[in-house]
């Protein structure tokens, strides 16, 4: 009994001593926390609350009416279409790029990594302008497209292209460090055991990266639905046809239809909240998995 209490006591002391060594006086801690909270309130909570109050200012009916307006519905639909195309494309591209970079050595690898980061480095407006330059009426392929009766700029394909461009680093960037850390031992083991490339992908690689992949998909989706700059350049703002939700918010706001603008904006804000919740859940799951692994390793 006495030995137990002694060890417990010393452990307690060690804990106190350690925390004392690394902690600041109480007033500093409180001041820092207060500053952080004030900042968050000013820049995050108040605007978020404002979005919903403004949206509901003229009553719930106006709110609903603003959302079921044909232009609004069309914008919602277009946003969903753009995200629904961009997400799978980026999924395939992201996994392929991350696989190539993490598991193989080849020439030009660092160039590929740099290229993947390009959308982060380039302003979205420039990205949109590039597409106008290439596919626009006065652009490189403009005449050819016109001759074949195809429209890219000021039409849905252009919006999808711009969305894919701005979102394509998210999944690859999320997966590359994860896959590099996991190494290629398991893939090699599967190979020696006779598995084909597809079997290795589905049975070994994907299950190992599923949390990272999901996290990347959530971020991609959020960005795809919220993108303004690049899409604004290529869209042409044609109501009911090439307006996405962020673009519609701007138009409505410029036309002094505040309630409608905030109603659509509130949907985007809701999307952000759902994204945050999902992201937190995925992070928590991934951390739990890692922790369980660690714990099991420690016990063994």
């Amino acid at each position: 009994m006495s030995t137990i209490s002694v060890t417990q006591h010393s452990r307690y002391q060690a804990k106190v001593a350690r925390s004392r060594a690394t902690s600041e006086p109480a007033w500093i801690r409180w001041v820092l926390i207060a500053i952080a909270l004030a900042f968050l309130t000013l820049f995050l909570f108040i605007p978020l609350a404002a979005v919903f109050t403004e949206a509901l200012r003229k009553g719930f009916d106006t709110y609903i009416n603003a959302l079921v307006d044909p232009d609004a519905l069309s914008a919602i639909q277009l946003t969903l279409i753009a995200a629904a195309i961009a997400l799978p494309l980026n999924l395939v591209f992201g996994v392929a790029a991350a696989w190539a970079i993490a598991k193989f050595d080849f020439k030009g690898k660092s160039i590929l990594i740099t290229l993947i980061d390009l959308p982060f480095a380039v302003s979205p407006v420039v990205a949109g302008l590039i597409y106008v330059l290439i596919f626009g009426l006065q652009g490189w392929f403009g005449e050819w497209l016109l001759d074949h009766d195809m429209k890219v700029i000021f039409a849905i394909p252009g919006i999808v292209l711009a969305t894919v461009f701005v979102t394509f680093p998210f999944i690859a960037r999320e997966l590359i460090p994860l896959m590099q850390a996991q190494g290629k031992d398991e893939e090699e083991a599967a190979l020696v055991l006779g598995a084909s490339g597809w079997q290795i992908l589905w049975r070994v690689t994907l299950p190992n990266i599923k949390w990272g992949l999901l996290y990347g998909m959530i971020l991609t989706n959020a960005r795809a639905m919220g993108e303004f700059g690049a899409v604004s350049v290529v869209s042409g703002h044609i109501r009911g046809m090439t307006n996405t939700m962020p673009l519609l918010v701007e138009i409505l706001y410029n036309e002094y239809q505040y309630a409608a603008a905030f109603a659509v904006a509130s949907l985007l804000a809701l999307l952000a909240l759902v994204t945050l919740a999902l992201k937190t859940f995925v992070e928590w799951q991934a951390a739990k998995n890692a922790e369980e692994t660690e714990l099991a390793v420690m016990q063994s």
Partner: protein, 355 residues
């Protein structure tokens, strides 16, 4: 199933990992590739497996050339250094993997898979862990599961990369004896890579000693330990004392001691290095008629049945190591600082490579 390795060379950029490797692993043998890290032993193992392609040379299994055969079709069992178990699969599924990925025509049915996996898990004595996940196992358990998984595809040859490298000393000893017994049961041609000479000496039928991408010596543990073919092998396998020496007319000389060196009888005059194992160093307190040289006891390790002495040679400032039995040590009544006479009992002389 023998493994024939013919003139294998491999380089990574300007670094020559392997240079003209030639040997045959006889059917049913357990062979150790032994060498320091960076000597190319793992590269050679991966070339045999097909995970790496040789720059030059051919690999054949029992006469059939497999150099260009896809890894999947080579039917090798490979045990990775860090086990490489599929972390998201249970132990059962890990072992079953090789059977499940077979094309439909050759895939056993579920009942057969079940039977085979449990048979293998029983073989490695871990059937009770079938539903666990790899992170929940100890290192030794993971290693045995990795072995069961490799055996599930009924490989023609078994290749093990540093199989005990990541385990602690006690588990390591148990596991390598167990591997030896398992090999005696299964008789599958096996090659394992190790940098631990004790491990190679204890487990292998044949040891291939490698250094700098070349084979230094091939032989039974007895042969490589008792008759090392090169200074490198001498130093790598067990402790050894090195003496500066000179060979004149077939006789080597260490201080005033002359040693007949039959293999160098044609050598007129050359610098040489003489090697003596610590247990071949004879120590006595008074000159006894045999040629010897004086030394001072500088340190005594007396742990276990053997007493290790560090002796400072009086003629030059070098330390030699000697091992005495406890009885002999007590008989001599040695203390640190004692003056002794030293005679090498069994000496092997290598000429210095001419510069």
């Amino acid at each position: 199933m023998s493994i024939e390795i013919n003139h294998i060379s491999k380089s990574f950029g300007k670094f020559n990992a392997l240079q003209d490797i030639n040997f045959t692993v006889p059917s049913g043998e357990l062979v150790a590739l032994l060498g320091p890290s960076g000597c190319g032993k793992t590269t050679l193992l991966r070339i045999i497996a097909g995970l790496e392609s040789p720059g030059e040379g051919r690999i054949a299994f029992h006469g059939d050339d497999t150099t260009d055969l896809d890894v999947r079709k080579r039917q090798v069992g490979f045990v990775f250094q860090h086990y490489a178990l599929f972390r998201h699969m249970t132990v059962f599924e890990n072992v079953a993997f090789g059977l499940r990925v077979r094309p439909k025509t050759t895939r056993p049915n579920e009942a057969e898979i079940r039977r085979r996996v449990h048979e293998l898990l029983n073989l490695v004595q871990l059937d009770w862990l079938a539903d666990r996940y790899p992170p929940q196992l100890s290192g030794g358990q993971r290693q045995r599961i990795a072995l069961a998984r490799a055996l599930a595809v009924e490989p023609k040859v078994l290749l093990l990369d540093e199989p005990f490298g990541a385990l602690d000393a006690k588990v390591r000893k148990d596991l390598r004896r167990w591997l030896r017994r398992l090999h005696d049961e299964l008789h599958i041609t096996s090659v394992f890579v190790t940098h631990d000479q004790e491990e190679a000496l204890e487990v292998a039928d044949t040891i291939v000693v490698m250094n700098h991408g070349k084979v230094e010596q091939i032989g039974s543990p007895q042969q490589v330990y008792d008759q090392p073919a090169s200074p490198f092998v001498y130093q790598f396998l067990g402790n050894v004392n090195q003496f500066e020496s000179r060979v004149t007319k077939g006789r080597a000389k260490i201080e005033d001691i002359h040693i007949d060196s039959t293999e160098h009888h044609a050598v007129e005059d050359a610098d040489a290095l003489a090697y003596v194992r610590p247990h071949d160093i004879e120590v006595f307190t008074e000159p006894n008629g045999h040629a010897s040289f004086p030394a001072t006891v500088s340190y005594i390790h007396s742990l276990g049945p053997l007493v290790r002495l560090e002796l400072q040679r009086n003629a030059e400032n070098t330390i030699i190591e000697a091992e005495l039995t406890r009885e002999r040590f007590l008989q001599l009544q040695l203390k640190e600082g004692s003056q002794v006479h030293v005679r090498p009992r069994h000496v092997r002389v290598f000429l210095k490579p001419s510069a």
